[in-house]
Symmetry: C2
Subunit: 347 residues, 2 copies
């Protein structure tokens, strides 16, 4: 099936129009006409070859929202006309222990990523900066009907990346939750943690986003450039979600946890981070990691966001602005997520 | 009350006989005639001034077992003749959030350690290498009647240090638990984890203690000097307790955890340990710390050990051998804990 997209042709070239073939739908496949696709920082790392060698041309995009246009003979979960989404993964082995525990992102044979992964048929997967995509029904999510589809698209990565640890580590009423960083991930953390009933604090480098933070549901907002912040908040939080992939001093933030508190890392710093054993031994604290979420939990997150009317704060752009948007993402100059309007994609 | 003990008179001098005064028992105090006291590696670090400045003379010892000889007027929990124990702490503020959660070891005002701490009356606490000790009844534990008292003494530190994380992180039937290191702490971990019903694996530098490990309850025993160990056991364990305070590569061990597994550090390496975010993000793994245990849990541990007939493997020594024992502890030349026989203490 002839498909149009925007692809990187090398790690150094800007993204450019590209025509390619998607597979004909198999029995369990769903064909989705893509309406919107979010821009994730991972897209940039991947196409720029910063995360290990890839095959080019490569079409990124894993915050995909669209409408079902065809279904295979065995498809029972979705029908033509359904408004659906696809996130970071499009398949997994389905047999290993993590897959059976609904944690397909940790599949022991390796999850099949939405782009740049080798699919079961040996071809390379291509992502959502494109006119359509073909995905096994089990990895297609139902989008909440009440949410604007453009602003809901980034829930598929930014939303689940924050919902999963907040849900797993039980953010909720009576819990003090801090979100480190208020970018694409962090601003979703604020909204979701607040909707879960937690008392939310943003720890941001400066106070420049304070007004936004409070509007999105944060009760408190502190600048981490101010040393007083660390004195004042020592031993304060039940849960901290660190969305910042810059190399922060984790020990300093671990010190902000109450006894039995957990700091969850969802950003991957380039370098290893030195951990002082005292930071975790004192107060029986935990340092944990989390990666997006499984399919079941992603659907749960979408339903939760529908119920609580949660979407991303986005800037909608035409495909022609992708390369410019990339530069702005790198400079953190976006509040808070770019979403590509696919109707601007010319054949 | 005139008391005899073995004290360090400086960070560089060997321990030597020392006569000093204990306070007269107050209303809530229990006076304990010390029968046995274990030698913990912390004793050595502390008296040798490796853990921050202390006041000398200093009497170490926090694995104390003995018999009640006097009680204050308000004491209801213990009576003369009771066989009791004292572990690493003798008091705490009792009002802060950790104290209220029975985690007195994390008291926000600082737990009062059994030796080298400033007590509530301003005096410095002195430990168990001595003829008697005076302790508030709430910090005195009941020793199981069926256990030999000399071999039970180290339960007060080595035992609870391992029981607490094994209990908190739910080692039990169906769980695969690894113990890193088989010294004073590790050998207790093997016994307790096996008694809790877990499948226990020892990860030791060499296979030299393999026979002991299996005798104590380990089902498997691997040498960490063999690189194959890390290949073979990848993604294998639900829980790993790291008892080694040498600077190991934690990332390598985190890779041995199943998804949602936890590695708990109970030894404090001298230097910070570099952590690769991938080690915790992949598989939603946790790196946590644990420090001894609260008083309530310590009593629970003693009762558990009584029920399962668990003691330490010890080498009983006279006080005159303390300095020699210290050298052997440093060389890991003990299977697995020295205990001082206090009847050899001459007035």
């Amino acid at each position: 099936m002839k498909t149009f997209g925007y692809a990187a042709h090398s790690g150094k070239a800007p993204l450019a129009p590209y025509t390619f073939e998607r597979r004909e739908p198999r029995a369990n496949d769903v064909v989705i006409e893509i309406k919107y696709c979010g821009i994730c920082h991972s897209d940039i790392h991947t196409v720029r070859d910063e995360w290990g060698a890839k095959t080019y041309p490569l079409i990124p995009g894993h915050e995909i929202a669209g409408v079902v246009t065809r279904v295979g003979a065995g498809v029972s979960k979705h029908k033509i006309g359904d408004v659906v989404g696809v996130g970071c993964l499009v398949d997994s082995c389905r047999e290993c222990s993590p897959c059976k525990d609904h944690l397909e992102q940790f599949c022991e044979k390796g999850m099949i990523g939405t782009y740049g992964s080798t699919d079961k048929d040996g071809t390379m997967t291509q992502g959502g900066y494109s006119s359509q995509i073909v995905v096994d029904q089990d990895f297609v999510l139902k989008m909440p009907k009440n949410l604007p589809l453009d602003a809901a698209a980034p829930l598929l990565c930014a939303g689940i990346t924050l919902y999963s640890p907040l849900n797993h580590w039980k953010a909720g009423p009576g819990k003090k939750v801090a979100i480190i960083g208020m970018g694409g991930l962090g601003h979703m953390g604020v909204k979701i943690a607040a909707a879960l009933g937690a008392e939310v604090t943003v720890l941001s480098q400066s106070l420049s986003k304070q007004e936004d933070g409070k509007r999105l549901g944060a009760k408190h907002f502190y600048a981490t450039s101010d040393k007083e912040t660390f004195k004042k908040l020592g031993g304060h939080f039940d849960l901290i979600i660190n969305t910042v992939s810059a190399n922060l001093d984790w020990n300093q933030y671990l010190g902000l946890l109450k006894h039995d508190g957990t700091m969850v890392v969802v950003g991957i710093p380039e370098k290893e981070v030195p951990v002082n054993a005292f930071s975790i031994v004192m107060g029986r604290r935990s340092l944990a990691g989390s990666l997006i979420g499984g399919i079941k939990e992603t659907q749960e997150m979408l339903d939760f966001c529908g119920k609580h009317n949660i979407t991303c704060d986005i800037e909608l752009i035409p495909v022609s602005k992708i390369n410019e948007a990339y530069e702005r993402v790198i400079k953190s100059d976006v509040r808070y997520r770019f979403v590509i309007d696919m109707k601007t994609l010319q054949a």
